[in-house]
């Protein structure tokens, strides 16, 4: 029972990070019908930018808490510029090309960013400075630390904020209009290029925060960290129904839980044959299972209805 509760806690925390990243995939897909495979690398760049600026600021004697906040803002700004540039340079020229072209470009962008990061930050793991005391608390037998609490609450707050923007503001209406019918949106006076740029920037800002969260939680950052994280977040987006915001959030949380519970019990299930290091397999096992029974994901519409 304690293991169960502990895995739920871990799963929710990790899942809330997946959800933030999954939202970026799903927002871009909803508007452009494009899978931005470079999104995982934006998460990694966010973590790296935060790490570098944090280390520098601590060196200059900036108070730790202020340094954390500033480095997070810097990471967000840096990733917004990056997301904007990716769309502008790699995707916009291919807007009317056959669908395979932007997909291959996305993979190319992803490789370029990985290599760029490797050149700047090297191949080694960077340890993320531990700045707050990070006390642990026991809740019904499960242990949760301050960083996990902050991650979870911050992630929920950001998601709630995004929902307000999308459903209650003029910008959000424009985003939904562009997602539904680009011609009609233009007839209303919506500058679709601007809305698309803003969408990339919003998704990238969330990716940056997710990158900082992951690094802070595990205490590590690495030029390759975006790959698996991006793949899993994409899985979460597909699981929830790609293009659907609530689906991305649900998919993220569910994936975190499934993975965590799977890791906790995989040894028991397989009689010790597989250990918890197989937890990554779960994400993809779940993805395949869901797609067999619900090709459009948990909350997604049938693809045929979209077209």
């Amino acid at each position: 029972m304690e293991i169960f509760l502990q895995q739920i806690v871990n799963g929710l925390v990790q899942g809330s990070v997946y959800a933030l990243v999954a939202l970026g995939y799903t927002m871009v897909y909803g508007i452009l019908g494009l899978i931005n495979f470079a999104h995982g690398e934006v998460v990694m760049i966010g973590a790296m930018l935060a790490l570098s600026s944090l280390t520098a600021m601590l060196g200059w004697g900036v108070p730790p808490l202020l340094a954390v906040l500033l480095s997070m803002v810097l990471a967000m700004l840096g990733c917004m510029v990056l997301g904007y540039s990716i769309e502008r340079i790699a995707y916009r020229p291919l807007r009317h090309a056959p669908r395979l072209a932007p997909l291959i470009t996305a993979i190319g962008v992803s490789i370029v960013l990985q290599n760029l990061a490797m050149m700047i930050w090297g191949r080694e793991y960077h340890s993320f400075p531990q700045l707050i005391a990070n006390n642990t608390h026991t809740v019904g037998g499960a242990i949760i630390n301050d960083i996990q609490i902050i991650i979870f609450i911050l992630a929920l707050a950001i998601m709630a904020g995004l929902m307000v923007v999308v459903h209650r503001t003029r910008l959000g209406r424009a985003m939904r209009a562009v997602a539904e019918d680009q011609h009609a949106a233009q007839l209303m006076g919506v500058d679709i290029n601007r809305v698309i740029s803003i969408t990339f920037m919003l998704g990238s800002a969330m990716a940056a925060i997710a990158g900082v969260m992951v690094s802070a939680n595990y205490g590590l950052a690495h030029y390759y960290m975006g790959f698996l994280l991006g793949l899993k977040a994409f899985t979460a987006a597909v699981l929830g129904g790609i293009g659907n915001l609530r689906g991305a959030m649900l998919g993220g949380l569910l994936l975190g839980l499934i993975e965590s519970l799977g890791a906790g019990y995989i040894g028991d299930i397989t009689g010790g044959f597989l250990g918890s290091n197989y937890q990554d397999v779960f994400a993809f096992f779940v993805l395949i299972t869901v797609l067999v029974f619900r090709p459009s994901g948990l909350l997604g519409e049938r693809i045929a209805e979209r077209a």
Partner: protein, 238 residues
């Protein structure tokens, strides 16, 4: 004569190598209701889409209020007061009726007056008031046409272009839509009306153009066109 609000000269539009519009001239004076009629595939929709900026001309000139629209993007034309109610309506199906109306006012900054205009639209189309929180995709065809028209009016356009507003609607609904067009026109708005239902269109319009395979073959006062043999035979089934 007043300077025309819209003036089109020698407009040509092509889809790839196919010439859909082969050099047409037309104009709409301020406050005028002009009908553009023609059979299937004549190029009416292509003309309106080009005027709205969704398609780029292969040649010719479009002047609005005396200025060339050559380098003006579709969203900027909307902000300048050019509104198109597209063929097939193009409502945002996954937004509520109220949200659709707000989208119509997207380019406007005057919040207070927007609210007043929304209220006015609900007076003009009481049916929409009852359905304001319903997703537009769940409405009937006629109701969606009302949403599309109300949404276009929300931009306070100076030139309203309507592409086959009667398409697929029951006779009663067609009557209601045309009554509304008449009312809006009486308020002084300039309207370019595309219709397959030539009789109805020419009955409400002051002038008309007849289009055939990408060219304008006849034009003149609506009453004259209604009476002309060519139009009678081709479009009025006489």
């Amino acid at each position: 004569m007043n300077n025309p609000l819209l003036e089109v000269r020698d407009l040509k539009v092509a889809y790839g190598g196919i010439h859909a519009i082969k050099g047409i001239d037309l104009h709409v004076a301020p406050g005028e209701l002009v009908a553009l009629i023609g059979s299937n595939g004549a190029g009416k929709t292509t003309t309106l889409k080009t005027l709205a900026g969704l398609l780029h001309p292969a040649g010719g000139q479009i002047k609005y209020d005396g200025n060339s629209l050559h380098d003006v993007a579709a969203h900027q034309r909307a902000a300048m007061g050019i509104a198109l109610v597209p063929e097939g309506r193009g409502v945002f199906a996954r937004m509520t009726v109220a949200e659709n109306l707000l989208m119509g006012a997207y380019s406007r900054g005057d919040k207070k007056e927007i609210a007043a205009d929304v209220a006015h639209m609900y007076e003009l189309f009481p049916r929409l008031a009852e359905r304001k929180d319903q997703l537009a995709g769940t409405l009937s065809g006629g109701e969606q046409q009302m949403v599309a028209m109300a949404r276009a009016l929300m931009s306070r356009p100076r030139l309203l272009m309507l592409d086959e507003p009667s398409m697929g609607l029951a006779p009663l609904m067609v009557k209601k839509i045309f009554e509304t067009i008449r009312e809006i026109s009486a308020l002084g708005m300039s309207i370019l009306l595309v219709e397959q239902n030539a009789r109805l269109a020419l009955q409400v319009a002051q002038r008309g153009y007849v289009m055939e395979s990408g060219a304008i073959t006849l034009s003149g006062a609506a009453s004259e066109l209604l009476g002309s043999d060519a139009v009678q035979r081709a479009y009025l089934g006489a």
